[in-house]
Amino acid sequence: MKKQQRLLAPLLVAAALAAPALAGDGYALQVLNIAILNCIVVLGLNFVTGWTGQVNFGQAAFYGLGAYTTAIATKAGLPWITTPFLSALVALIAALVLGMPTLRLRSYYLAMTTIGFGEIVRLIIVHWEPVTGGTSGLRAIPGISLFGFTVEGQIAHFYLLFAALALAALVAHRIRHSSLGRAMLATRDSEIAAELSGVDTVRTKILAFVIGSIYAGLAGCLYASSIRFISPDSFTGTQAVLFMTMLIIGGMGSIPGCIIGAIGLTILPELLRFLGQWYLVLYGAGVIAVIVLAPGGLASAYPRIRQRMAGFAK
């Protein structure tokens, strides 16, 4: 099994790197780039919801904070290299302000707080027009520029975003297998048991929330610089629910699951465009089918199928 996984990983990376050759420098690659950004956001959501068991509906707001920080900073003339740090910092501060009082409580308080937080961020963006451009958004955002090299075109953006996703997945993998990752899982399974085992559950929950927010902030930074236009309609509560759906469909707590869910639910509506307005029916039916048939998400489907096949073989 481990040997198979070791073979599969380079194959997947090679296939992903060859994607621009198949997709071309246009629509398909643009969709893939947005899917990659969604992967990073959902990986972030996985820290707090998938591994720590706290329901977070504020991920779209953190994504928006990162995007607006980058847009405002680069339009003000700051070099692009500073923007990932600024976006991460703004997301971190917002997460601390929101998380420190809320995560001391148990159950669904975070869900309620983050719904409110999302609405507050949206209202600030809409009404602080001189800075955020209001509902019209911000246009002509400077693109990604690193050490004198400017990233131009979908293909270049794809490789950069792919590298960012690989790094994000690697960091998530390392955290998952660290003491912090084990503390997160223990907190999710039973806060009381975790505390009895010496886990500082409040600290763990705050850390998970902050790390997840930083992921969203960084993805927002890359979104603003690659799309070069942002408006509040990309960071609404509906988008937050969509991120949560991606996590559930892909498989909560699984890194490949986050990536499968985000890519699947970004690409699926595009694949179903030929159905016109009816695509929403099929899309909804597909989501329900996955939840019913694979409650652990798509990532859990493969081991289940293998298990059943082994059962049949016996």
Binding site: Q30, I34, S136, R139, F229, S231, Q277
Partner: protein, 392 residues
């Protein structure tokens, strides 16, 4: 050499010279150049909101373009070629609007129609301009045509015109001195609110109250009671048909009776369908031309055919998009299927007669400069008269 031979050689030389001169003359005069031929069906792309909370608006663009395309195809197409229309749904998000546009661009259309949702058009402008394709939109944010794209043209009235004309009409013609402003808190309403405040300031009028409501709000009584308490003598209301209907209904419920003026939503059929005659009566609107008030038999027949086909009444957007397809027809018949030539002809549009109004391109790319003033008599909108943008 004989005289006959000399005469023949002179004739040949004269013919060659004449041919060369003729060729140069043709080449030097663009007006005399043959229009670029249209090979195969003429591809037109359209991106608009067909799903989500903006679909009620978006389908009006689709209906206008599609209805005109169907009519033209039945009549033999343009320049002997059928028109192939491809529509893509933008949903309600700018990211989806960008995806939809990239998909349309890959089909290499001759012309692209964008929607009336301004953030969607903002995000789409750069890729369309890069593809060097004429881009015709109905988006109402005044800044849409100030983006510096020479490929973008707008066929619909914009917020800047309304924000200037509505307060002027309210103050100068209707004689109101203490208006309140209530708008939907989205790109459309907040953009207009800012412009309305600026115009009122120029008229030395201080608004009694300035308020807004979220697009999904259903209860606007708090805002209405505030403007009543502040002694407003009139209301400038800017919103979508669904929420404008709610505001007018709640004004009736609260017994607030004010001269109310707003955008075309005040007289939209979808608004009036949700109001009683008493609730709708007396409200004014300034906006793009709507077919409901037409007396012309041809327009009445056209509206009935649109209604029969789509089961949705045509509105000002339907008319704008419909007209623009016919404007394109006249341009393609003149200059052929060359994108740059179509763009240049769009820029040169002057007094092209549409269903209601003449279209003239200004230097930014705005084609519409004449608006209509309407007033509801019970649940029936009546045309008060035309009103032109300042300077036109």
């Amino acid at each position: 050499m004989s005289k006959v031979a000399d005469k023949n050689s002179f004739k040949t030389a004269s013919l060659i010279a004449a041919a060369v001169a003729g060729a140069f003359a043709l080449g030097a005069s663009p007006a005399a150049a043959a229009p670029a031929a249209c090979a195969g069906p003429i591809k037109i792309g359209l991106t608009t909101a067909l799903t989500g909370n903006l679909a009620l608006l978006g389908i009006q663009a689709r209906n206008g373009v599609e209805f005109a395309v169907d009519e033209l195809n039945k009549a033999g197409g343009i320049a002997g070629q059928q028109i192939a229309l491809t529509s893509e749904d933008t949903g309600a998000s700018s990211t989806d609007a960008l995806n939809a546009m990239n998909r349309i661009i890959e089909g290499k259309p001759l012309v692209i129609f964008g929607s009336m949702i301004s953030p969607h058009v903002f995000v789409q402008t750069e890729p369309v301009s890069k593809s060097e394709t004429p881009f015709l939109v109905g988006a109402t944010n005044a800044k849409i045509t100030s983006q510096g794209s020479k490929w973008l043209y707008r066929m619909h009235v914009h917020d800047g015109q309304l924000a200037d004309l509505i307060p002027r009409y309210l103050v100068s013609t209707l004689g109101k001195k203490k208006p309140a402003i209530l708008v939907v808190a989205d790109d459309y309403g907040l953009g207009a609110s800012k412009g309305i405040q600026e115009t009122l300031e120029k008229l030395s009028i201080k608004p009694a109250a300035i308020s807004s409501y979220a697009p999904s709000d259903k209860d606007m009584t708090a805002q209405l009671l505030e403007l009543k308490d502040k002694g407003a003598d009139s209301l400038i209301l800017f919103g979508r048909p669904a929420d404008v209907a709610l505001v007018l209904k709640q004004m009736g419920d609260l017994g607030i009776s004010l001269t109310t003026i707003g955008n075309a939503s005040m007289v939209a059929q979808t608004t009036l369908n949700n109001l009683s005659a008493a609730e709708a009566d007396g409200a004014y609107a300034i906006g793009g031309m709507i077919p409901q008030t037409a007396k012309d038999a041809k327009i009445i027949d056209w509206s009935a055919r649109v209604m029969a086909k789509y089961k949705v009444p045509a509105d000002n957007f339907t008319v704008g998009y419909y007209d623009t397809v016919y404007l394109l027809k006249s341009i393609i018949e003149k200059v052929g299927c060359d994108k740059a030539a179509i763009r240049d002809e769009l820029a040169a549009t002057k007094d092209w007669k549409g269903t209601f109004i003449p279209y003239t391109a200004d230097k930014l790319g705005d084609l519409t400069h004449q608006l209509g003033i309407y007033r509801n008599k019970g649940k029936t909108p009546e045309f008060v008269g035309p009103i032109s943008e300042t300077g036109f």
